[in-house]
Amino acid sequence: MTANLTDSKVERQVGMVLDLNKCLNCQTCTIACKKLWNQDAGTDYTYWNNVETLPGTGYPKHWQDLGGRDGKGQVKPGTVPNLDTQYGRAWNFNHKQVFGREDGKKGLKVWLRPEGKSRPKWGANWDEDHGTGSYPEDNHYFYMPRLCNHCTHPACLAACPRGSIEKRSEDGIVVVNQDRCHGYRFCVEACPYKKVYFDTQRQVAAKCIFCFPRVEEGEPPACARQCPGRLRFVGFVDDREGPIWKLVHKWKVAIPLHPQYGLSPNVFYVPPMSPRKLDAQGRPTAEPRIAISYLESLFGKDVHRALATVEAEREKKKHGKPSELMDLLIAYDWNENFRIPTRSPIDERSTNGHS
């Protein structure tokens, strides 16, 4: 049977919004994801969810320059990142030395550090908190959590000659059928976000599955559920009572990363506001530290409107006026960040009066 390679039609699409004004770079999302899905030898270098410091090199290194799609949404030859120089190999640490010394003295004089003869030269999050600018005038950085965007038109799906990548009709989650995958890695090349990985042991593609077993039970993905900053919202994009529709379509403050790739991501970001630059006398200027041109390079022109709306609503809230948007973003009750109907037959029975 010839592979089906056309865009899949989905009944519904699940989505996520991340408010970048609240991200602390604690990496709890990264660890929640990694512990759940990626501890095997072949995936030890992969982070389906990572948090990178911007402006910065990102993960994999300079991923925005590695091709897949150009600025007009057209296919642009991509590259598969190198494990040593772009992803960074997973480090092994001297845990035994620090925590398991035979003399019982644990970690008193031995620091936790990567094992090996040579010092690592690159790794995920290598440039954490570096940012850019000069202190105190305009130094700045912000944090960007990234995961698969579960695009409406996934480049990875279109790239696979075997039809090994599927977009689930019930929720639009993009998954790799690893039984079918032959490890060609065209999907890795083609994804301009570089969010498809290669399991170096099993020799198949691997990527974020939006924790679909959790979503099917009405639970948000682990990265969202574990976020202490309450910055993630999860729900169906067309649910008018849900946070995604409100933030993306009603208030239009959540926008996709690199919309110019033309893939229609279903992960959206509330762009970061920033303090003002200082002048030579140390007085605040009218100019934000994060250049709007930089944010535009990430989120497109819609970033102007999104920032203006958030700022206006924040001012309303500061002056004691009600703001649905700010109440939503503040996340007084984090349960309201997630609105995912369960598809568990057990829960459906309960709802119908069967116990």
Partner: protein
């Protein structure tokens, strides 16, 4: 041994939206020729394939951007099965796939582009390989291959890892090769 010129499998035929665009212009075979020697061996066949490979890739383990050397022999499992698309619906092809990083062969079945199924080869299918002085030599020893016996045609494919060959990016024979068996 007879030398057979190989061509690059046409990129324009490749399924999906990416390969045909990203690799447009890749029209030179990374492996321009291969030597083939096919002998009857009992009820089966001994098929020796040799090709030049200046920079062999014998393993990709622990790497993300390395592709392994490989080769395949293919026969139509039905009269009229096209070779360039690896068969078509209801016109299957069947063959044996050797990879430099595996001792055991795969049996491959296909009915068109993107449809290849790999599975462990039957017990009586084996291959030995050696890399020497810039050449790979792979000897397929197949105790039975009914499709070849019936159709008397074979096709070749070679993947050169250092040229990033994989999937449809490969060097192939210019058509079915008629064989006397």
């Amino acid at each position: 041994m007879a030398t057979h010129e190989l061509i690059a499998a046409p990129v324009g035929l490749q399924p999906g939206a990416y390969v045909k665009v990203a690799y447009a212009g890749r029209d030179q075979a990374a492996t321009p020729a291969a030597d083939l020697d096919l002998q009857k061996a009992g009820q089966g066949y001994r098929i020796a394939l040799q090709w030049a490979c200046p920079d062999p890739v014998k393993s990709i383990e622990g790497n993300t951007d390395v592709w392994v050397d490989a080769a395949a022999v293919l026969a139509p499992a039905a009269p009229g099965a096209p070779w360039i698309t690896m068969g078509a619906e209801n016109l299957p092809v069947v063959g044996a796939l050797w990879r430099a990083d595996r001792e055991d062969l795969y049996r491959i079945d296909a009915e068109g582009l993107g449809s290849v199924r790999r599975e462990a080869a039957p017990e009586g299918w084996r291959a030995t390989s050696k890399y020497e002085r810039g050449f790979w030599t792979v000897v397929f020893e197949l105790d039975a291959w009914p499709s070849l016996r019936k159709q008397k045609m074979i096709a070749l494919a070679v993947w050169r890892g250092d040229a990033q060959d994989r999937g449809g990016l490969k060097s192939v024979s210019q058509g079915w090769i008629n064989v006397e068996v």
